[in-house]
């Protein structure tokens, strides 16, 4: 009996050249794979949502393993800060669309793979049309709206969703597939966390190797489902702590009351996931309490040039100062803002900044509660300042 998600008739249609037999020989000689299994791989179609930290190892290894069709969804352009972990892209690719460099790298790894590119954001409008062409979906996205979208779309389309996520030195992986008996993402997390409360990689950082470990686990799980081998992570969440070098796993159960995959679903079509998860950092920090007073980097520059009196407050961490700083700013890390509010000169307008504008939005909120009225969030943080005003300030 074979539990492969690829049916026999489709697998039989694959032909193998002599070159391919040599290329895949280390698979072909394993009794668990053989030519029959390699044919299943060649017949299979895998969609990677995201060609970044997780998508890089996943796509590269699946291509090398001989998956027949690889779909990649990503709208981003390669940035220098990607290269520490996203090995699909190289130094000479900076500025190119990620899917272009991904395609080049995959072709070099294995020219037999058919690569389908979707240089767009994965949205409620295109998700079902894209997913229907694939047997397995790999969630290598980097934000909650896309994670809920990818899970819901896979539930509706009855496709396994192989989940991975990373935070600094920690990673998690599992397989969501209610149609195979497991839970979906919503069974675990029915509601998203308060918008902006959970930092992403750009805000929190991530050990470059970590998405390599987790992404390769996702690739292995995809191959196991295609070959019908072993015990999948269906119903188990694997947590990896790189600092302790420990794996821990937790059993997951389907929630019979899940609004998407439960017995009486209340959500039967894709939603507006940005809205569901709460949209911008500004809205995040205010928790929906209305727009936060803010100014643009251009406006800050204008005021500095005009020597308008103002207090510039930097709420980043001390170790970020040596990466980049704006002259004349006072440093009070976000965690100390509440206790040290008395040190801030409130006679002048106070402009608060951080790296990208999320922490500073929270600081503005804290200080408003402490009675500050003439206080503004610098939109886009020091990163926007560097990009749009002063290129001498390094970006990080």
């Amino acid at each position: 009996m074979n539990n492969s998600i690829i049916d026999d008739a489709r697998a039989q249609q694959s032909d193998f050249s002599a070159e391919e037999r040599s290329r895949y020989s280390r698979h072909l000689i394993m009794p668990e794979v053989t030519l029959a299994g390699q044919k299943r791989l060649k017949a299979s179609r895998v969609l990677c949502i995201g060609a970044g930290g997780l998508g890089s190892p996943t796509a590269l290894y699946l291509a090398a393993a001989g998956v027949g069709t690889l779909g990649l969804v990503d709208a981003d352009v390669v940035d220098l800060s990607n290269l520490q972990r996203q090995l699909l892209h190289g130094t000479s690719d900076v500025g190119r669309p990620k899917l272009d460099s991904a395609q080049d790298r995959i072709r070099e790894a294995n020219p037999h793979v058919e690569v389908q590119l979707y240089p767009t954001r994965f949205t409620s409008e295109n998700a079902m049309q894209i997913i229907e062409h694939y047997d397995v979906v790999i969630d290598g996205s980097d934000n909650f709206p896309t994670r809920y979208l990818s899970s819901d779309a896979c539930v509706f389309a009855r496709k396994p969703n192989i989940y991975g996520s990373v935070f600094r030195f920690d990673g998690q992986a599992t397989v969501f597939a209610p149609h195979l008996g497991g839970p979906c993402y919503r069974c675990l997390f029915p509601e998203p966390p308060p918008a902006g409360a959970v930092p992403n990689c750009a805000e929190a950082g991530v050990l470059g190797v970590l998405p390599g470990v987790i992404g390769m686990m996702q690739a292995i799980e995809a191959i196991k489902l295609i070959l019908g081998l072993g015990d999948s992570l269906l119903g188990r969440l694997l947590h990896f702590d790189a600092l302790k070098m420990k794996f821990r796993e937790f059993k997951l159960r389907r929630d019979p009351e899940c609004p998407v995959c439960g017995e009486q679903p209340t959500i039967t079509e894709l939603q507006d996931y940005e809205l569901f998860c709460g949209a911008t950092p500004q809205e995040v920090a205010t928790n929906g309490a209305g727009r936060l007073p803010s100014i643009s980097v251009q406006e800050l520059k204008r005021r500095r040039v005009a020597r308008t009196p103002l207090t510039l407050l930097d709420v980043r961490e001390p170790y970020e100062l040596e990466l980049a700083q704006i002259d004349g700013a006072k440093l009070i890390p976000l965690g100390e803002v509440e206790d040290r509010a008395g040190e801030i000169d409130r006679a002048k307008d106070v402009v608060v900044f951080c790296h990208a504008g999320v922490r500073s939005a929270r600081a503005v909120q804290i200080l408003q509660r402490s009675g500050f009225t003439n206080i503004y969030n610098l939109e886009g943080g020091i990163d926007a300042w560097s990009e749009q005003i002063d290129p001498a300030v390094p970006r990080y």
């Binding site: 980097d142 990373v166 821990r248």
Partner: protein
């Protein structure tokens, strides 16, 4: 009974530590334990609705009755990729 509570991922930042040793009475539930944990780490309270609680090798509901020696894990959702 004494229980070791581990904080995962971002909750380490929120609490400023990676574990907490809690003392709860026999027959206490996860909800009782969380009350003790939140008492020590008040900032965690706002995360309550998104925290998964692992006891040993299972994620459990808030009414799960704790057993001596249960290794408790508090895990937030993680988005990074």
């Amino acid at each position: 009974m004494n229980l070791r509570v581990q904080f995962f991922s971002h909750l380490k930042d929120v609490t400023g530590s990676d574990e907490f040793h809690a003392h709860v009475p026999e027959g206490a539930s996860v909800a009782d334990l969380l009350t003790v944990v939140y008492g020590q780490h008040p900032k965690l309270r706002s995360w309550d609705s998104s925290i998964l609680v692992g006891a040993g090798v299972e994620f459990v509901d808030r009414d799960y009755l704790l057993k001596e020696g249960d290794e408790i894990a508090l895990m937030p959702p993680v988005q990074g990729g």
